[in-house]
């Protein structure tokens, strides 16, 4: 019988620990356990056989770390050799035990490297590593793939994509949580369940890290959210060090008793991890014999996730921040064109503090590489914001690239009732997971009646079902059209909302503010319409969380309908005193400071305020030259003479930046472009992933009016040379933290000398010294960030 069929019928049992037993059998410290598949096949087979004799249904082949990072084929066997030997050993054991109805799992653990941005492994490279192992395992005849002991949702996604793209085998995934139910990189259980169910795995759960006692409550959490079978493979207790050895305290008796309870709670597959032995497994199976399996229930929860958080879209309405969308936003358009991601990140953060639960991301502009920009914005946003994102694009190519890269289960904006749209979008939803916005329009346009829109919603549900996409993963967009052209349109939208809720039992979404195009006092009418829409069942609203009127409607609705228990959120929002932080910013004193004083003291708000006042009377250039720069010089001197220190230097730099923002806005409004002293290209060199030092240099150079092109970290020499050539930059700044990455700094300098002989190169970073800088041929060693500013002044004044 197929395992997917069998798991529906009864409890299934995994084997227990392998590593600990191999160590007992003589595996040397540092020796790769997977090598034993080739060097000690009998030992490995025998261990499998012990587990089979203990009664387990699924044995995991000894392939946990069998990837090309460890098995390069140079001094080691290849991945294919290791995997096929491992599967052969497991299959031999199955043959020897005489029960052919056992299953062999290809076992895949973490790659052993961290994915970017935490480490240096590229997401697609991780997919390729796993793909190679999957192909080898499938070719060797594995019955299923078990991805286990995962600590990072992003790596989980890479492994699952590889498993699904390179094989048709069932895919089971278990992750290693801490006692609070958090993954190493911060993922919560609902977020992991959302991600995995979205990717279409067949069973999921937890393993390693904890013993059965600690896993029991976490299993409950899994069972609450998961609509597919849950796997629980604990260690034999929490690991404890004794005489330099890791020991596990929970013996077979206690282990099996708790495992029985976990089975009674509803877990469908049970086994063990580190420290468990065939005896643990035997006793567990024995005790579970009397447990009747709890049926796996469809939970019908509509949920999107980021790498840490899950957001449920259901009875409690959800706010989707609409601000990252260039339509009608001049500043955002400019930011996108110039690649100024900082502006976009700040826009994202502002919406988070405004109360958004999800952020919409739309970067569509006529002259932009939308796919590239979408991917950059998604990655950058995910590194500062932990809310789920709504990927909003009409380009299927950009949609696929973004969905592939996105760390979580995204909201997808959008599909509609046109056959072409559904053919393009549904396969992506099916493959990558996601909740998709379904616009109630089709080839014949937008129906004017609620009946027409409901008919399209039904058509979309049916088409989605044919792709295997559940109704819960569709949000019907009932379309808000302005009442200034058709007065009945609001009523049509409201009735459609109500019908989706009451007749179709589905979920809805709306771009609320469209209702008032062409009318005055839009915030007023928008917020009233918003409240009406909520009352008619709206589940997710695409609005501006910065709009006070909209948020008032939202908070009031929740309080009025009993969704906000004891009106706690409402009281928190509107009942308190102004926060101390806010009064400090605006309180007496701060507002009266001169710009110079504000910058020296590092007060951002005061600096902004002073500039706003000053710019009414003084020309921008005078503010810069007579107030801003002198203040920065004071701080710089203080830093150099050690009366001021790095945090103050940077707070001042940030305050100066706030002043520059005001000046920039004023200049832009009067059509004058800002003058820059010249271009500096900066980067952390190839192989190095530290960027604090480089970013300190960046903010100071920007303060002194240089155009800084920041190429980021781990940058190829070629890209640095290309950029210097294309901008003809007179100065490049390179940063390296480690002795191991100084050679790539040297290589970059060599390439720059060849291709851009005009360009001066300054270097800095923890390991560098004047001597080192001379040795690798740099023009200047910047001992700190101020030194880099001084050198830039020399280079650009032509005195070098």
């Amino acid at each position: 019988m197929n395992i997917l069929e069998e798991m529906k019928k009864r409890l299934l049992f995994f084997d227990g620990g392998m590593g600990t037993l191999l160590q007992e059998a003589g595996l040397a410290p540092g020796e790769l356990p997977e090598l034993w598949n080739l060097s000690h096949p009998e030992t490995v087979t025998h261990l499998h056989l012990d587990y089979l004799n203990a009664g387990c249904d699924i044995i995991t082949a000894n392939t946990f770390g069998a990837n090309a990072l460890k098995f390069t084929g140079d001094n080691t066997p290849t991945v294919e050799e290791v995997v096929s030997a491992a599967i052969a050993n497991a299959k031999n054991a199955v043959t020897q035990c005489g029960c052919p109805s056992k299953y062999v799992a290809l076992d895949m653990g973490p790659t052993g490297k961290l994915l970017k941005p935490l480490g240096d492994l590229d997401f697609e490279d991780a997919v390729s590593l796993y793909r190679q192992t999957v192909l080898a395992g499938a070719a060797a005849g594995a019955d299923l793939i078990l991805i286990e002991t995962m600590g990072d949702t992003y790596e989980i996604k890479a492994a699952v994509l590889a498993a699904k793209e390179a094989s048709d085998l069932p895919v089971f995934v278990t992750a290693a949580f801490d006692e609070q139910g958090t993954l190493l990189t911060g993922g919560s259980i609902p977020a992991v369940v959302a991600l995995l169910e979205g990717l279409g795995v067949d069973a999921l759960g937890l393993n390693c890290g904890l013993g059965p006692v600690q896993m029991k409550p976490l299993t409950g959490e899994f069972l609450k959210y998961a609509s597919i079978p849950v796997i629980v493979n604990p260690n034999a207790g929490l690991p404890r060090a004794e005489a330099g050895k890791t020991v596990f305290d929970v013996g077979p008796e206690e282990f099996s008793s708790v495992m029985k309870e976990i089975a009674e709670d509803g877990a469908r597959m049970l086994g063990g991890c580190c420290g468990t032995t065939p005896e643990h497994i035997r006793l567990m199976i024995d005790k579970c014999r009397t447990v009747s399996p709890v049926p796996v229930k469809e939970k019908n929860i509509t949920v999107v996730s980021s790498y840490t958080k899950a957001v449920e879209i259901g009875p409690d309405p959800v706010i989707i921040g609409e601000r990252i969308n260039p339509t009608g936003k001049k500043k955002l358009k400019e930011a996108l064109k110039s690649g100024d991601l900082e502006y976009i990140l700040k826009e994202g953060l502002a919406q988070v503090s405004g109360g958004a639960h999800v952020l919409d991301v739309n970067v569509g502009l006529p002259d932009i590489d939308e796919t590239g920009m979408m991917c950059r914005v998604i990655s950058e946003l995910q590194s500062v914001v932990d809310l789920p994102l709504q990927i909003d694009t009409s380009s299927p190519a950009a949609m696929e690239a973004a969905l592939r890269l996105y760390n979580g289960k995204a909201l997808i904006n959008s599909v509609n009732g046109k056959a072409e749209s559904m053919e393009q979008i549904f396969p992506l939803v099916k493959k990558y997971g996601g909740v998709v916005v379904a616009l109630t329009l089709d080839e014949s346009g937008i129906p004017e009646t609620w009946e027409g829109r409901i008919a399209i919603a039904e058509k979309i549900y049916a088409a989605a079902a044919s792709y295997g996409i559940a109704k819960k993963d569709i949000l019907v967009d009932c379309l808000a059209m302005t009442i200034s052209s058709d007065q009945s349109s609001a009523l049509t939208t409201l009735e459609t909302l109500r019908r989706v809720r009451d007749d179709l039992h589905g979920h809805t979404i709306l771009g609320v503010s469209n209702i008032s195009f062409g009318l005055p006092a839009r915030p007023v009418i928008n917020s009233f319409f918003f409240a009406m829409a909520l009352q008619n069942g709206l589940n997710a609203a695409i609005v501006n969380p910065g709009s006070e009127d909209m948020m008032k409607a939202y908070h009031s609705f929740r309080a009025l309908t009993g969704r906000d228990l004891q009106c706690a959120a409402f009281i928190e929002q509107y009942g308190g005193q102004p926060s101390p932080a806010a009064s400090a910013q605006t309180g007496p004193g701060a507002a009266d400071l001169s710009l110079k004083e504000a910058i020296i003291r590092g007060l951002k708000e005061a600096s902004k305020h002073a500039t706003e006042t000053m710019i009414k009377d003084l020309p921008p250039l005078e503010i810069i030259n007579s107030h801003l720069i002198p203040a920065l010089d004071v701080v710089g001197k203080g830093f150099e003479t050690k009366t001021m220190f790095l945090p103050q230097l940077l707070m001042s730099a940030e305050a100066a930046k706030a002043a520059f923002e005001v000046i920039k806005t004023t200049l832009a409004a009067s059509g004058i472009s800002e003058e820059k002293k010249g271009t500096v290209v900066i980067a952390t060199v190839k192989g190095d992933i530290h960027d604090i030092g480089k970013n300190i240099v960046k903010i100071l150079l920007e303060n002194y009016s240089y155009q800084v092109i920041d190429l980021g970290r781990d940058v190829e020499p070629e890209l640095i040379a290309d950029t210097v050539c294309s901008t003809h930059a007179p100065l490049a700044g390179l940063s390296a933290l480690m002795t191991t990455t100084v050679p790539s700094m040297e290589a970059t300098i060599r390439l720059l000398r060849q291709r851009a002989p005009w360009c001066r190169v300054m270097v800095g970073g923890a390991v560098l010294t004047q001597e080192y800088a001379d040795m690798i041929g740099a023009d200047y060693y910047a001992k700190d960030a101020m030194a880099s500013v001084h050198y830039a002044e020399t280079v650009f004044s032509g005195n070098n």
């Binding site: 490297k113 941005p117 935490l118 911060g186 060090a241 330099g244 992933i689 530290h690 604090i692 002795t739």
Partner: protein, 215 residues
Amino acid sequence: MNLNYKETIRYLGYGKQEPDAAIRALIEGCWLELDASLSPKCTWDVYRLQHKEENRLCFAGMEVTSKSLNKNLAGCGFILLFAATLGPRVDLLIGKYTRLQMSRAVVLQAAAAAAIEDYCNGINTKLKSVMAEKGLYLRPRFSPGYGDFDLAHQRQLITVLDTPKKIGLTLTDSLIMAPAKSVTAVIGLSEYDTRCHLSGCEACGKTDCEFRRFS
């Protein structure tokens, strides 16, 4: 864990000077956020140590040639391999502020550097009492990259201790530890309590370092 204020300001370059109230508030605010991102983990194991000629040391299947390490381990029959990390969420937090607010990023970075040291010192103290029961005394921690103990041995330490699986500590191709706030080290175990072993700043030859600790 608790904020190590003194070490944090030392890492920020304050030397003996006291930061003003604004910076103190910044440091305390950063700590609250950092503390919530910590998931400290460590792993260690003990191996027999063999001293061979020409400063060669053999342990845990590794062979290290290092004069300074040999000196550090003189008289030790066992060696403890040690790895610890504050976990990847610290890097995510610092990365976030590196994009948004550098003043916070540098303070977080300093506070995290102090925190990993404190964490290691705490574990060290525990190890001391565990080993004392067996009649063994600990030498100061010695990490790859100290003196002439080649950084390349980092790879072997990580492999022997299986840190990617056990505590989530990995290495990049250029031997950078990820998560960044991590430590690997060896600790000599000796039957003799030889005091006055210097460690940290006091053991370092770079006496003009501006971050040098004042003892």
